[in-house]
Subunit: 472 residues, 2 copies
């Protein structure tokens, strides 16, 4: 008999028909007259109740079906008598695929997330992680669908790279060299001509530069892949391996870019509310009581578009009125998290797209404002960067219009002492038919944190990679 | 004025209206009376023709607009007089974003693919690579859409791993160790406790084992991410970094698996035929005259489902009748490419799903056939592996039902001397509520080769990583 997924079985209304479900036992309650088995197959956060008449089954077999066991149950679909469920199965036959010992690590409810991280391979079978993983899937699907519908092409930027894009943080080295027999040259430098790629290589920290190559050929692309930072940061916000989404578009200006950022992130959140209702309701109840309201709040608000220079004024006004901050905020300073939160959560009470930052605190490739820039840009001093700041999590998107002038870009690269020889292919985009373009980066796990209400980034990716942890 | 993408502009019919297009000049033909600029913006393989009255524009400016230049053209939409196009633009104003010198590497048509690989950042602007990349995007979108619609969840298996999954090929080492100061223990072994992850790590060769963790919790998952092989293979079929799709499903048997494989690959090919018509027509004309016919052929054929043992018989019959093969094919041998091609291209003339291979030539995790297996399996000797064999490219999918018995799996692991200590989490799926399950792997670039008719795998990924090559 063909299996029906639990998510589908729960929607059936042809009572009296026979259905088969398969899954893992969440709970098994026994009494003399009746056994109730709550069965889950991962297709939904909801369980289906299998009602078993113990007189019809082998008592020893029934007793062994404990939490975590995997079974197949066939029976008659009936309207449920219990609260909170509409459908249950009057069991006619049971098959046990796999029993589950009492040492099952997900045996008890209410284990700490820290405990569950040690069993990341088993935590996937819990309500919380099932919900998070289904939402994670849905957010990925929202991203692909959004870009596909808007004419962007999914573009696979390389993972192994010989160039250090933004110089952002430390990189992981990738090598096939025999570390027991490292050949060195006369100056004592390790020789890489015999390494796999004939040169020193590392894991990418961003696909943006390659993304620009794509956008200036295909018009609009997005990357969505793993990126890596070898930072020794043991925080709830950092992973050594995480997924990034980086769209890049030709022929856009700062307004287009901000429109894209706002439209895109709202699309993702709307998708979550429309496709992940059950999982969100669970998380809203168990993890974060303000979750759904906060998600809806994002959809309902027009994001504030705030030039950095104005932001600084607002913060300095607040300080003048007695608001205390730990860190200074003079024009030219990088804003601290407390400043961003003040603007987003206290002052505006909605998401803020901050723009036109001082050149010195942003990356070399951002378009330098000129007299005609508008938006509170200061000619020669600010760049057309955009950070989308969200309540609770701070920066969720960082983007910019890119400097398309070969001359200005080269000057910036020289001023920052970025080795030019690694950048020839990037500069070629400005040399041959350069065009205005821009894009942004979204840390995928940051989005999942926001959409699930989870607090630790290690709990929104199946198998987190952090300092000293590469288990599973 | 808002830009219209070329793909959309070409569909317009409101002649007389004013439109703006932006893009890169493919060709610029000048005469006394009129200039024709063929403009492409990457949104489609087709160019839009911009018709320029040279008397209305600065002659010097016009002269500079050569192949590769980036411009914005605004003008009146008119019905085209030329063959092969329905719409053109009578240019009223022109803006030059970026000129392009005569050293532009994509200047000439008909450059060799080998030449273009040196300019992988610029080849994206050519017809062939534009088509390939748009098809690549579409195949990714087909994959995500297929699995989403079928209730699979996208599951991110880790890239950096401390375990060597299948022992498949050589792996890339990932490290943050200072190679100039490698600490060693008393036995002279390099110490990894001070490496980033506190142990030796490498880049994944497959997400399958982690995928099984996902499937035995969420019911059905798929991975789609980069995988790595440090093999020194300089062939048109091998990349050191490539993308793999690996679905994994609980509660399926061999028939379900074969159905899934066939349905999935046909869905992808149907998607290409429906969504990539222009690009396929171009490739069919310029690269591979049999392409579209071959793709349609796949849709129209029921894949042959052939147990290995029967396949060997057919091959031995052919040999008996005088067919010559380079390699032997006795029961127990791994089939060579020539054998697969004989079966697919000569004997059956359609795709073949070969099943029930001898245990010894397949991976440790495949389900061992027993008396009840059917499908030509030999109890204890064969495993429920499935290779989908396609014309021209050979194996496009490799999959299997997985061994769900802890006892049998452990015996296999011991027999093959796979270090158990690295596998504890994998074995836990068999220990706690084990379930029948299976899945397959599809090399994404192999699919793109098949769908585009391209011959070299380096030409279907933006920036190929191969021995001695990690440029861009």
């Amino acid at each position: 008999m063909k299996r029906t997924k639990v998510v589908d079985a729960l929607k059936l209304t042809d009572f009296g028909s026979t259905v088969n479900v398969k899954g893992w036992v969440r709970t098994h309650r026994s009494s003399k007259a009746v056994d109730f088995i709550a069965l889950n197959d991962g297709s939904t956060i909801k369980n289906i109740q299998v009602v078993v008449d113990p007189s019809k089954f082998d008592a020893e077999m029934l007793k062994q079906i404990t939490t975590g066991s995997c079974i197949s149950a066939t029976g008659v679909l009936v309207e449920s008598q219990g609260a909170g469920q509409t459908v249950e199965i009057q069991c006619e036959s049971l098959e046990v695929y796999g029993l589950c010992g009492s040492d099952y690590p997900m045996q008890k409810k209410g284990q700490s997330f820290e405990y569950m991280r040690q069993y990341a391979h088993m935590r996937l079978r819990t309500n919380t992680f099932g919900a998070v993983m289904r939402i994670r899937h849905n957010m990925a699907m929202a991203i692909h669908t959004y870009f596909h519908e808007h004419g962007f092409f999914y573009f696979h930027s390389p993972i192994i790279t010989a160039s250090d894009c933004e110089g952002a943080g430390q990189m992981f080295q990738v090598t096939t060299k025999n570390l027991y027999d490292l050949k060195k040259d006369e100056d004592g430098k390790i020789k890489y001509d015999d390494d796999f790629f004939g040169k020193q290589t590392s894991l990418t920290v961003s696909g943006q530069l390659e993304g620009e190559l794509g956008a200036t050929a295909l018009g609009a692309i997005y990357t969505f892949g793993p990126t890596f930072r070898a930072e020794n940061s043991n925080t709830p916000r950092h992973l050594a391996e995480f997924w990034m989404v980086e769209p890049e578009v030709a022929f856009i200006d700062l307004t287009d870019l901000m429109d894209l950022e706002e439209d895109f992130i709202k699309y993702c959140i709307r998708w979550a509310l429309e496709h992940c209702q059950d999982d969100l309701e669970f998380l809203n109840k168990m993890i974060d009581k303000g979750l759904i309201e906060r998600l809806k709040g994002i959809l309902e608000s027009d994001f504030v578009r705030l030039p950095y220079t104005e932001g600084i004024k607002i913060l300095q006004d607040a300080i003048a009125k007695g608001r205390k901050f730990e860190f200074p905020c003079e024009w030219g300073d990088d804003l601290a998290s407390e400043h961003e939160r003040y603007l987003v959560e206290e002052y505006f009470k909605k998401p803020v797209i901050m723009t036109n930052y001082p050149k010195a605190i942003k990356a070399f490739y951002m378009k330098i404002d000129d007299e005609e820039s508008g938006f509170g840009g200061k000619s020669g001093q600010t760049v057309q960067g955009t950070d989308v700041l969200f309540p609770q999590i701070g920066e969720i998107i960082g983007g910019s219009v890119r400097e398309e002038s070969l001359e200005k870009l080269t000057a910036e690269i020289n001023e920052r002492h970025i080795p030019m020889k690694d950048m020839w292919w990037y500069l070629d985009t400005r040399k041959y038919g350069t065009c205005p373009h821009g894009g942004f980066g979204l840390g995928f796990e940051r989005l999942i944190l926001f959409v699930t209400g989870m607090q630790n980034i290690r709990d929104v990716i199946p198998f987190p990679r952090t300092p000293k942890t590469a288990e599973f």
